[in-house]
């Protein structure tokens, strides 16, 4: 990894990172799991394994990513799904047995599972 020697080089890395993120969010599927201590304590690891297993079973390519605590600890484990420029939809109190239906409904059929959804964020994490 090259050392950053100037503001310009930092900007370049930033643009690359933003482009990478944009490509992931605008053309791919991101599944984002809250993995702060609160999330892990609420069972986020098991949820992540269930997601990976389900993606593998269905042979779906998705970026499974982890983030820290977003603040709603009472609603952990939180799983966000962001697909191809759609808003990032947050699902609350996700358990491993909810995962197959989440993937089936949200990813494959393109429908939000309303009763589990908490809210949405504007598309992409870039400001």
């Amino acid at each position: 990894m090259p050392k950053i020697k100037s503001l310009e080089e930092l900007k370049k890395i930033r643009e690359e990172a933003q482009r990478d993120l944009r490509i992931r969010t605008e053309t791919g599927t991101r599944i984002i799991i809250g993995m702060g201590t609160c999330g892990i304590a609420a069972g986020a690891r098991d949820v992540m394994h269930a997601i990976l297993k389900e993606l593998e079973r269905r042979d779906i390519e998705a970026h499974v990513e982890t983030v820290g605590c977003i603040g709603m600890c009472a609603k952990e484990p939180l799983v966000d799904i962001e697909q191809a420029g759609k808003p990032r939809v947050t699902y609350a109190n996700v358990t491993p047995d909810m995962v197959p239906r989440l993937i089936e409904e949200h990813l494959v059929k393109g429908r939000v599972v309303q009763e589990w959804a908490l809210g949405r964020l504007e598309s992409t994490g870039i400001q």
Partner: protein
């Protein structure tokens, strides 16, 4: 071999779903079209696996633009190639459109939890992968560092931080910029930057979340600080209990070093800065700065006196800048956006945001970042979503074990360093623990004291000994062995610790106890004087939460256990020892016991009121003759008022052998039970059974006897020969609305309306439009009664919202079901009509600040007035005692709210005259009146025997009813529904709505009781139930 360069990549999904919807044809068509246009050297076609877009398939993505097409068919291919690959334009009709189901979801900024938050230090938490520095950089990370290093001098950086007004987020609130300046100006070449990440307060996890979710923001802040103060090395002191935070910090440090953002010659400049992590062993005192520094040096974590402050003499005696995690996390944003931006957020003297870990009895536990100056109520109720299970907010603890509690009357306090100090609390580092009515404040402050005391390092005497002695006293109080002198001792010890302890830990240890004592002294006194824990948590004082919650202290588990066994008569005897009205209370009691039932923590509370009704109904036909407890006496007692308080007092005094006469103004006995509670809730024959029981004890009830008209107080005490008088006159006078025209015919006060209906003077309501004003039991009763009398439409007007109605939720629900139309957040401002009511002008309200009860105050919305056409207006907004009759009795004082002034012994200001029930309490419930009746009887008995009792207490023995079935069999049993009369049948008559449980349902329901009483008997080591007791029952 280098890959050939393609100017565009076209990805087509070849997953199962897309293949099914025709992606193979699309691929073939694309291949052909690319070849036809001769683009095969410029454009590459790639088959991808499924990405989960099956619903939109076949999908095609064109790079480098990242254009996303969905539901592409072979026929679309020529257009795509022409428009996108050749002309570089997007084919809109194939571009992805957001489906409606997504639009139905609220954005985060519309969710109450987030709507009032401003995220500065937490801006990246939950948004980026904390283990990828690129994601931090993508969101503007390290821009502040490069700005500081390349375009700002050290002095300019310090100046910027100073001008921002940032105050230390560790809790003390010292100006960060000033602290930096001290360190920068301190003489010496070697200086250090230290981050205090020793977050140890129970219920606090702000620092952990930042370190776990966005470690680079802290690292960047520390590097900038290092540059500003002239340090080359920094330490993050993080407790070892935060393994994930440490892991992510290590990863982040390594990544920053790789990019040259940390280490030697940062970003090619001559500034070098190295960062180390020091894992702390978890001693709370190490959060104190001098102890923390000692711990980094490898010494015992003990504080030392200051000055010198670390800025002058810190780590290894070198100038050291020490800040909290949150302070550092704010720095990059201040440098990038400027001091003005930051100082415009939040409160004037506390700019920026505050981060709180919201925990305890609050719906949305979590981490929040709010602008300074937001009110405490907004954090707890708007962001936090209020208290779970509709319980009442009691207090919030800020500042953790060294802070203090803030009660409901201060919910409007602004959350910033200075305002919190004014109410005796502290900002602290950000823990916020919410407690509800079920928390005992003595126990709560004891919890924090236990923590702080255990964490005392032991170096100085005030902290080591003071904390221990104080804890001993608190323990004594929670066990019911405290004295009033103990409270003075606590205050004295606190003063000694505050002034004598070496560091903040010792000085602030008494904080939670002192704050609890300041706001909840009554609760301490209840433990000491009455040996009672009002919240029902102090083990030694609470046999079972239900018993504790019942105002008249009925031995609930005992009667429930006996009912389960079908032993109704014995169950009733136990009930009547404390409350002689099981038939009545089985119908109308708000069941305080159920609200505290521990089974309710598991699923739903045991249906105690309904079980009680069943038990009492079984013995309806076997009249009860109350047993005598003492022999006959000569001194006569007069009771004024035949309501629940008066009748209970009369009964208890009669049981003690006194001749008792009850004087009742109305032609019926029962008080509000007869003329307030409508028949559909309490049939008159049921009421009369229990009044007859009282008479059977030897009580004489004289009806139509009005004080002031038929006799006076002086008559009673002199000519008529009564030695004591109990005033139980109730509150039969309705409060006025205080609006124009309210004396117009057609305005009919709620209590009068219900009374006239009960006494057979049926008001003419048939076909009329009725509006009731109020949110309490009387309002609901009046509304449902009006409906039953044939009103064409019944409106209920209440100035707050449904959740705030004092009326019993089941009643409100029933009223809504029966067709009463609720108008919440509305208030009448004028009655309309010339010689009779024709309408009422209403004004919409909005909820404003919090009042002393912790509810939001309704505030009028100007210009929102509207008229409701009605024929009858029934105000029911509160009651007062009808004290006119007492005009002649002299020497009796009244309180401002119209109740009679009484002492703790219920004695009025006139010798030999006592008061009980609503007249002393204000409008309350039957069971509370019964409790008063029991108590006043003890007081009168003591008075007549010439004894002095300051705090009379009605005492009866508890019953250890053995458990005779396996409780595990009822682990999954559900609370049954009470069968009710169908709505269409009930609204046209006064038949009882609730139909009662059948025997099997009732007895099975009893078995859901968790028998807290037996557990208590066992843990307290008193007369545990033996096997022989059980055998005796089995026989």
């Amino acid at each position: 071999m280098a890959e050939p360069y393609y100017r565009a990549n076209v990805l087509v999904c070849g997953g199962t779903g897309c293949t099914a919807s025709g992606s193979a044809e699309v691929i073939a068509a694309m291949e052909a079209e690319i070849k036809r246009r001769g683009l095969q050297d410029e454009v590459r076609l790639v088959h991808t696996g499924c990405r989960g877009f099956c619903a939109m398939g076949p999908v095609m993505i064109v790079y480098p633009e990242g254009i996303f097409y969905c539901q592409v068919q072979a026929g679309d291919v020529p257009t795509i190639v022409e428009e996108t690959l050749v002309k570089g334009r997007v084919v809109q009709r194939l571009a992805y459109q957001e489906p409606d189901t997504h639009k139905a979801l609220p954005f985060y900024k519309e969710i109450p939890f987030y709507s009032k938050q401003i995220r500065i230090a937490l801006r990246n938490c939950g948004m980026i992968d904390p283990e990828k520095i690129e994601e931090y950089i993508a969101r503007g990370g390290y821009e502040a560092l490069s700005k500081a290093l390349t375009s700002m001098t050290r002095e300019e950086v310090i100046e910027e931080v100073k001008r921002s007004g940032l105050r230390g987020r560790g809790g003390a609130g010292f100006l960060t910029g000033v602290k930096w300046e001290f360190t920068a100006k301190a003489p010496g070449d070697v200086k250090y930057v230290v981050c205090n990440a020793d977050e140890g307060d129970p219920g606090a996890f702000m620092d952990r979340s930042i370190l776990e979710g966005d470690p680079h923001s802290v690292i960047e802040g520390m590097i900038i600080c290092g540059y500003a103060v002239g340090a080359k090395e920094g330490y993050i002191y993080c407790r070892a209990e935060y393994p994930l935070a440490i892991k992510r910090l290590k990863t982040a440090i390594a990544q920053a070093e790789e990019y040259g953002l940390l280490g030697d010659n940062i970003m090619g400049t001559d500034f070098s800065f190295h960062l180390h992590i020091k894992e702390g062993a978890g001693a709370f005192v190490c959060g104190e700065e001098t102890a923390l520094l000692a711990s980094i040096e490898g010494r015992r974590g003990e504080p030392r006196p200051r000055p010198p402050f670390p800025a002058v003499c810190g780590l290894w005696n070198k100038p050291t800048n020490l800040n909290n995690v949150k302070s550092y996390a704010n720095i990059p944003q201040i440098i990038v956006n400027g001091a003005e931006w930051f100082s415009n957020i939040g409160a004037k003297r506390s700019p920026g945001t505050a981060i709180f870990a919201l925990t305890g009895k609050v719906n949305n536990t979590g981490l929040v970042e709010v602008p300074m100056g937001i009110t405490l109520g907004e954090i707890i109720f708007d962001i936090g979503g209020g208290i779970p299970k509709g319980k009442k907010f009691k207090a919030v603890q800020t500042g953790g074990p060294l802070g203090g509690c803030i009660p409901a009357q201060h919910l409007n306090v602004k959350v910033d360093f200075d305002s919190l100090k004014e109410v005796g609390a502290v900002m602290g580092s950000g823990g916020m623990i919410v407690v509800d009515e079920d928390t005992c404040m003595v126990e709560f402050s004891k919890f924090f004291l236990t923590f702080a005391q255990a964490e005392s390092c032991g170096k100085c005497v005030p902290c080591r000994v003071g904390g221990k002695r104080m804890l001993e006293i608190l323990t004594r109080i929670t066990e019911g062995n405290g004295t009033l002198e103990d409270l003075d001792t606590i205050r004295e010890i606190a003063k000694g610790m505050e002034t004598g302890a070496l560091c903040a830990l010792g000085q602030l240890t008494p904080g939670p106890v002192m704050a609890a004592l300041r706001y909840f002294e009554d609760e301490f006194r209840a433990h000491i004087l009455d040996k009672e824990c009002p919240a029902g948590t102090c083990k030694a004082l609470v046999r079972a939460r239900c018993i504790n919650a019942c105002p008249s202290g009925v031995d609930v588990p005992a009667f429930v256990a006996l009912t389960a066994q079908g032993r109704y008569q014995e169950a009733l005897d136990i009930h009547r020892e404390r409350n002689p009205f099981p038939l009545i209370c089985g119908r109308v009691c708000p069941a305080f016991c159920e609200q505290k039932c521990r089974r309710g923590d598991v699923d739903e509370p045991v249906a105690l009121r309904q079980v009680k009704r069943f038990m009492a109904d079984q013995e309806k036909d076997h009249p009860w003759t109350p047993p005598k407890k003492e022999g006959p006496k000569d001194k006569k007692v007069a009771v004024i008022g035949a309501g629940p308080a008066g009748l209970t007092a009369a009964l208890r005094l009669a049981q003690l052998g006194y001749p008792v006469t009850v004087f009742e103004k109305l032609p019926v006995a029962g008080g509000m039970m007869a003329v307030g509670i409508p028949e559909y809730r309490l049939p008159r024959d049921i009421l009369n059974i229990e009044i007859e029981n009282i008479k059977r004890a030897g009580v004489e009830i004289r009806l139509n006897q009005e004080m002031g008209r038929d006799f006076t107080m002086d008559d009673l005490l002199n000519g008529m020969g009564y030695s004591a008088v109990v005033l139980a006159i109730g509150t039969h006078k309705s409060r006025k609305l205080g609006i124009p025209n309210e004396d117009l015919p057609g305005v009919y006060h709620g209590v009068n309306f219900l009374k006239d209906v009960a006494l057979g003077k049926k008001p003419d309501v048939k076909g009329k439009r009725v509006a009731v004003v109020g949110g309490g039991a009387v309002a609901i009763d009046a509304a449902r009664t009006a409906l039953r009398l044939g009103a064409s439409k019944v409106h209920l007007i209440y100035r707050r919202t449904r959740g705030e109605m004092p009326a019993w939720e089941e009643e409100v629900h029933a009223a809504a079901l029966e067709g009463i139309q609720f108008h919440f957040l509305t208030n009448p401002v004028r009655v309309i009509g010339t010689d009779h009511v024709t309408g009422v002008e209403l004004q919409a309200q909005q909820l404003g600040e919090f009042d002393a009860s912790g509810r939001r105050k309704p505030m009028p919305i100007e210009g929102s007035e509207f008229v409701l056409d009605i024929d009858l207006l029934i105000p029911a907004i509160g009651q007062a005692a009808a004290v006119e009759c007492l005009g002649s009795c002299g020497d009796i004082s009244f309180n401002r709210d119209g109740t009679i002034t009484v002492g703790p012994d219920l004695a009025t200001t006139r010798e030999g005259v006592f008061a009980a029930g609503d007249a002393a309490l204000g409008p309350a419930t039957v069971v509370e009146a019964v409790a008063q009746g029991n108590k006043v009887a003890v007081a009168v008995d003591a008075y007549l025997k010439g004894q002095k009792v300051e705090r009379p207490k009605y005492v009866t023995a508890y019953h250890n009813v053995p458990q005779v079935f396996n409780m595990d069999d009822y682990a999954d049993a559900k609370r049954p529904q009470m069968p009710e009369l169908p709505v269409e049948q009930r609204v046209c008559c006064f038949d009882e709505v609730e139909l009662g449980f059948d025997e099997k349902t009732a007895r099975e329901e009893c078995k859901r009781c968790l028998r807290c009483d037996l557990e208590w008997v066992e843990t307290m080591g008193v007369e545990a139930v033996t096997q022989s007791d059980k055998d005796a029952v089995a026989v």
